[in-house]
């Protein structure tokens, strides 16, 4: 049974996502030690530094989604099932940095589909209490673990259906943001296909740095950030960084 990590990376006019990818790949190789496949386009690929053994698959990203007024090419996650060459796949956002091997534990399980439903604010401000922003508990599609089987295929088919009718589902679930977020897409699909009862989850909260945190330094073991007048630091702990200007570090 093959297993590996799948990463999506498309540069935009404003953000050099390939720089974030280079750091992410380095940490995945060091700590998770599994094969990596990067889904990208040729335009982004040309700018990447050589990263050793990495598989690439080229697609043209679907455009039109925005985040903070800037282009955000993130709506291709629904293709993960068919694009993944692995029997067990872990899809990671490229701004999720694996400073530990904690996620390798998930590869040794027989769950069909796992996703975390909690995020943990490393600045101590509890800024990810998102209940008030929709009528559905959000999941964090930052980390997805899935196996290739009929059940999971149906989950992804549901994701595609909801994506196609996103405006309708977005309104039905009274989601505050109108742009497409994979987090809500998967939350809605999982709720729909699981009979509105519940589903299996990754049992930890994603340690996350909010968008307003400025990243000061990043090494192979940890990250330092500035949040207003406070400097924070974690070492040997996975971190999801929402500030996309990370590539300047």
């Amino acid at each position: 049974m093959s297993k590996g990590v799948l990463l999506f990376c498309f540069d935009t006019q404003d953000t050099k996502y390939h720089k974030i990818l280079e750091r992410c790949v380095e940490l995945v190789k060091k700590n998770l030690k599994v094969p990596i496949t990067v889904i990208t386009n040729f335009e982004t690929f040309k700018k990447m530094l050589p990263m050793g053994f990495v598989n690439y698959k080229f697609i043209e990203p679907e455009r039109g989604n925005k985040l903070g007024g800037k282009d955000w090419n993130n709506v291709d996650r629904h293709l993960a099932y068919e694009l993944s060459p692995y029997d067990t796949t872990m899809v990671l956002d490229i701004d999720y940095f694996c400073f530990t091997d904690n996620l390798t534990q998930c590869f040794h399980t027989d769950y069909d589909f796992l996703v975390p439903d909690r995020a943990y604010d490393l600045t101590g401000k509890n800024s990810f209490d998102l209940r008030k922003w929709s009528m559905i508990p959000m999941v964090w599609a930052t980390v997805l673990l899935f196996k290739k089987n009929d059940k999971v295929k149906k989950i992804f088919e549901t994701v595609k259906y909801i994506k196609k009718h996103y405006q309708y589902f977005n309104a039905m679930y009274r989601i505050h943001g109108k742009n497409l977020r994979n987090d809500y897409l998967f939350a809605m699909a999982l709720q729909q296909i699981n009979g509105f009862i519940g589903y299996e989850k990754l049992p930890f909260a994603l340690p996350t740095l909010p968008r307003n945190c400025k990243i000061l330094t990043m090494t192979n073991t940890g990250i330092t950030w500035k949040d207003h007048n406070t400097i924070g630091y974690v070492e040997n702990q996975d971190v999801h960084v929402l500030n996309k200007e990370l590539f300047d570090v």
Partner: protein
């Protein structure tokens, strides 16, 4: 104590509290472990439950983190893995905690 000194001490206490909280969260994340293709928390409750059941049963069922039942056929091995993971995470927390106590007001 003047107000600037009070603010300084308060900020220091806040920063230590946040750092402690992060270190504890890190320990909790580290306690998640796979055993027999299921995820478990190597926390005191799981360790105590396994230890208690092991005293009178050669095999038994416990729930994983998603409430799926898992048959444990080698309780000694499972307990050993749980304790190892628990102590690894808490030792790391302890090391970080010692740096906070030096900074305490």
């Amino acid at each position: 104590m003047d107000i600037s000194e009070l603010k300084k001490q308060s900020d220091l206490s806040y920063n230590i509290a946040v750092a402690k909280r992060n270190a504890l969260e890190k320990a909790h994340s580290r306690q998640i472990m796979a055993y027999r293709e299921h995820l478990f928390r190597a926390d005191p409750q799981t360790i105590c439950l396994v230890r208690t059941l092991k005293e009178s049963h050669d095999s038994f069922c416990v729930l994983d983190t998603n409430n799926n039942p898992v048959e444990i056929t080698d309780p000694a091995e499972f307990l050993s893995v749980l304790i190892k993971r628990n102590q690894e995470s808490l030792n790391a927390y302890h090391q970080i905690y010692k740096t906070f106590t030096k900074k305490d007001i």
